[in-house]
C-alpha cells in the first residue's frame, strides 16, 4: 500500500520517461536509407573481409583512402580529393582536388602527402569576377614514360567571353610544365560533355571516352582512339554500344579486357593513316561471380579506383 502522493509522483516520472522513450525510439527507428554512408575506416564488420593483392586507392566524400591487407586507411582529409591514379611505376599517386569553381591535379605519395601541384586552374585575380574563367581538370593519367600528363581539361579560357560551351578535351602537358606547353589531343563535340577519361597506351596513343548525341537525340558515350595531338581520332565503338569509363586491370595477375572492336562505320575525319588496334575475334568472357567487398560505404563512383597489383 502506498500513498496517493507517492503514486502521483511515481506516475508522473513514469509518464515522462515513457513518453520520452517513445519519442526517442521512433527517432532511432528511421530507415537506413536516409543514413549517411559509413567512413571506410569505421571499425564495423564488413560484408566480407577479403585480402586482395596490392593496394586499392579510392575516394569517398572528398577524401582518398587506401585498401590493403583487408584494411582501409584514410590518406587525405575530406577536402575535395577524387580520381586517384597511380604512376606507371607505382611509386606515387596523381589525384584531383576539386573546389567549387575549379579543380587541379596534384602528385601525392602513396601515403597521401602532397608533393607537387601540376595544374593551376583557378582564374587569375583580375578575372575572378567571371566564373567561366576557371577551369576543370579531371581524370589525370601519366604516359607510360611518366613524362606527359594527360587529363580532361576545359581551358584555357578568356574572361568575359560568356561562352556557354564547356569544352572538355583531352590535353597532354609535359609533367612539370605549364598548360602553355600543353596541347589538346582531341577535338570534342560542342555541348555534349566532351572527351573524358584518357587512358595512355604503351604504343603512345590514347583511348578516351567521347560523349555525343545519337540520331535519336540520346546522349551516348563512345570509346575513341587517337595517336597524336590535334587529331580528330577514330571511333572504336559504335554509338549504339554506349561505352564509357574504360579501365585496365593490372596485367600481372588478371586477364586484360578484350580489345575494343572498331565500329563498322568510320568515326570521323582524320589526317593520314591511323594505327588503330586491330579487330580480333573476341572470345566470350567467362561468367565471373562478383564478390562484394564493402557495404554502405558510398564510394565516389565517378572516381575510378587505382589498383597497384
Amino acid at each position: 500500500m502506498i500513498t496517493r502522493f507517492l503514486l502521483a509522483v511515481g506516475l508522473a516520472i513514469l509518464m515522462v520517461v515513457s513518453g520520452t522513450t517513445s519519442y526517442v525510439y521512433l527517432s532511432s527507428r528511421q530507415s537506413k536509407a536516409v543514413a549517411a554512408p559509413q567512413k571506410p575506416t569505421d571499425p564495423t564488420p564488413r560484408a566480407q573481409q577479403l585480402t586482395l593483392p596490392g593496394t586499392i586507392y579510392l575516394a569517398q566524400s572528398g577524401a582518398l583512402y587506401s585498401f590493403s591487407a583487408g584494411r582501409f586507411h584514410q590518406l587525405t582529409a575530406e577536402a575535395g580529393w577524387t580520381q586517384p591514379a597511380l604512376f606507371p611505376d607505382g611509386s606515387q599517386l596523381l589525384a584531383v582536388k576539386r573546389s567549387g569553381l575549379f579543380s587541379d591535379v596534384y602528385v601525392l605519395t602513396r601515403f597521401g602527402n602532397v608533393t607537387n601541384q601540376l595544374t593551376s586552374n583557378q582564374a587569375p585575380v583580375r578575372s575572378r569576377w567571371d566564373t567561366g574563367a576557371n577551369a576543370w581538370s579531371f581524370y589525370p593519367r601519366l604516359s607510360p614514360d611518366q613524362g606527359t600528363l594527360y587529363m580532361s581539361y576545359d581551358g584555357p579560357k578568356a574572361a568575359g567571353d560568356g561562352n556557354f560551351n564547356v569544352l572538355m578535351q583531352v590535353w597532354g602537358i609535359p609533367r612539370g610544365g605549364t598548360i602553355r606547353q600543353g596541347r589538346s589531343w582531341t577535338l570534342a563535340n560542342n555541348y555534349t560533355g566532351g572527351d573524358m577519361q584518357p587512358v595512355p597506351l604503351p604504343t603512345g596513343g590514347l583511348i578516351y571516352t567521347k560523349y555525343s548525341y545519337d540520331s535519336n537525340s540520346n546522349r551516348v558515350g563512345q570509346l575513341w582512339y587517337t595517336n597524336r595531338a590535334g587529331s580528330a581520332g577514330k571511333a572504336l565503338t559504335s554509338q549504339a554500344a554506349n561505352c564509357s569509363q574504360l579501365w585496365w586491370l593490372p596485367k600481372a595477375r588478371y586477364a586484360p579486357p578484350p580489345p575494343p572492336v572498331p565500329s563498322p562505320t568510320p568515326g570521323g575525319p582524320h589526317n593520314g593513316p591511323l594505327p588503330t588496334p586491330s579487330p580480333t575475334a573476341v572470345p566470350t568472357p567467362p561468367v565471373v561471380k562478383p564478390i562484394q567487398l564493402t557495404t554502405n560505404l558510398g564510394f565516389d563512383a565517378t572516381s575510378p579506383l587505382a589498383w597497384s597489383g
Binding site: 500513498t3 527507428r29 530507415s31 536516409v34 560533355g193 573524358m196 558515350g221 569509363q245
Partner: protein
C-alpha cells in the same frame, strides 16, 4: 468513543492508499497513454505540415474563348473514371529572392498520368519556353502562366492547350526539392554524359540571386545529395538540347526519388515533412495522399514508366522572345494517346 479514535480518520486513510492491483492498472495505463503521447508528439509536426501543404484550394478559370488553338478540355472526370486513372501536373519553380512570392515562373512542368490498374506511369515534360495561349489571356511562354495566375492559371493553360483534364497539381520550390532529396538520404542516378555549366545560377545558397557558379556533374553511376541533384536537373547551358535535355534529367531524378522513397519507413516522415515545410503545395487531400503512398510503392517495374519530351519535330525554336513554337498537329495526337 475509544481513545485516539477520530471520526472519519479511517475513511481518510483508505482514500490515501490504493491496492497493488489498482496501482498496477493505473501505472500501465499511464505508460500506455504517455507512450502514445510521445508518438503523437513525434508525428504531429509532420501532420501539421502535411495538413498545410495538401488540399490546396485551386481556382481553375474557364478558358477564354478568344484565340483558342484547340478544342476545349474534356469534361472533368471523363478520363479519370476509367480504371481510377488520374493526371497530376508537377510544377517546379525558382522561388529565390529574384521573384516575388507566388509570382514565380514554373521552370519545370511535367504532366504525369497514373493508371493504377495497369501500374503504368506516363511523364510528359512541357518545355518551359513553349509559346502558348495563356489562360489569363494573350500568348506567351507557358512558364509565365503560374506567375500571372498561380496554380489555377497554370492548370487551365495546360488543360486548354493540351486538351487534357488535370485532376491535381503539385508545386515544389527550389529549396523544397533540395531538402526533400536530402531528407530521403540522396538519390542514386546514372548520368549518361557529363553535365557542365560555367554560368549556373548561384541563387540557392550563394547569397547573390544574380550570381553564378560552376557545375560539373561527371558521367557514371553516382549518389547525389539535394544540392547536386538540383544542379543536375536545372543546368542547361552546357547541353546541346538545352531545356529538352534537362527535362529528360528531371524525369530521371523523379524516378530516382520514387525509387528511394520506397525504402523509407513511417518514422522518416517527420524529417521529410520538416524538410518540405512551405516549399511544397498540392491540391491532393491528405486522405488521398494516404491512399497514394502504398499505390506508388507497388509500382516496381521501371519499364512501366513512360517518359516523353517534346523534342523536334514536336516543337521548334525561333519563336517570339526566344520561345519554342509548338507543332500542335503532332503534339495533340501524342497527348491524346497517353493522356486520353
Amino acid at each position: 468513543m475509544p481513545l485516539g479514535f477520530k471520526p472519519g480518520h479511517r475513511v481518510r486513510a483508505s482514500r490515501g492508499r490504493l491496492s497493488p492491483f489498482r496501482t498496477l492498472t493505473i501505472a500501465l495505463l499511464a505508460i500506455a497513454l504517455s507512450a502514445a503521447a510521445g508518438g503523437f508528439a513525434y508525428f504531429i509536426p509532420a501532420a501539421v505540415t502535411a495538413f498545410n501543404a495538401t488540399a490546396q484550394v485551386v481556382n481553375v478559370p474557364s478558358p477564354s474563348a478568344a484565340g483558342l488553338l484547340v478544342s476545349p478540355s474534356p469534361k472533368p472526370g471523363q478520363a479519370t473514371q476509367s480504371q481510377g486513372a488520374f493526371t497530376v501536373l508537377l510544377l517546379g519553380s525558382d522561388d529565390d529572392s529574384k521573384f516575388f512570392a507566388d509570382h514565380v515562373l514554373t521552370q519545370s512542368m511535367i504532366l504525369v498520368r497514373v493508371v493504377p490498374a495497369t501500374k503504368e506511369v506516363t511523364m510528359l515534360s512541357i518545355p518551359r519556353d513553349l509559346y502558348a495561349h495563356l489562360s489569363t489571356g494573350g500568348f506567351g511562354k507557358i512558364d509565365g502562366a503560374y506567375s500571372y495566375g498561380g496554380a489555377g492559371a497554370a492548370i487551365a493553360t495546360v488543360q486548354q492547350d493540351f486538351n487534357v483534364h488535370i485532376d491535381d497539381y503539385i508545386w515544389v520550390g527550389l529549396l523544397g526539392l533540395i531538402k526533400v532529396i536530402d531528407a530521403i538520404g540522396g538519390i542514386d542516378v546514372v548520368t549518361s554524359n557529363p553535365v557542365l555549366d560555367d554560368y549556373y545560377p548561384a541563387d540557392v545558397y550563394g547569397g547573390d540571386p544574380y550570381g553564378y557558379q560552376r557545375v560539373a556533374v561527371l558521367a557514371g553511376p553516382q549518389h547525389l545529395d539535394g544540392l547536386h541533384a538540383m544542379e543536375y536537373v536545372r543546368s542547361r547551358h552546357g547541353d546541346l538540347q538545352s531545356d529538352f535535355g534537362r527535362s529528360k534529367r528531371q524525369q530521371q531524378v523523379l524516378t530516382a526519388i520514387r525509387q528511394k522513397a520506397k525504402q523509407l519507413a513511417p518514422q522518416d516522415i517527420p524529417a521529410l515533412a520538416s524538410a518540405i515545410g512551405g516549399e511544397l503545395k498540392t491540391s491532393i487531400g491528405l486522405d488521398r495522399v494516404a491512399r497514394l503512398v502504398p499505390l506508388a510503392a507497388s509500382f516496381d517495374n521501371p519499364d512501366s514508366i513512360r517518359q516523353i519530351v517534346l523534342v523536334p519535330p514536336y516543337t521548334r525554336g525561333g519563336g517570339p522572345d526566344g520561345s519554342i513554337t509548338p507543332n500542335w498537329n503532332l503534339i495533340l495526337p501524342l497527348v491524346h494517346q497517353y493522356f486520353p
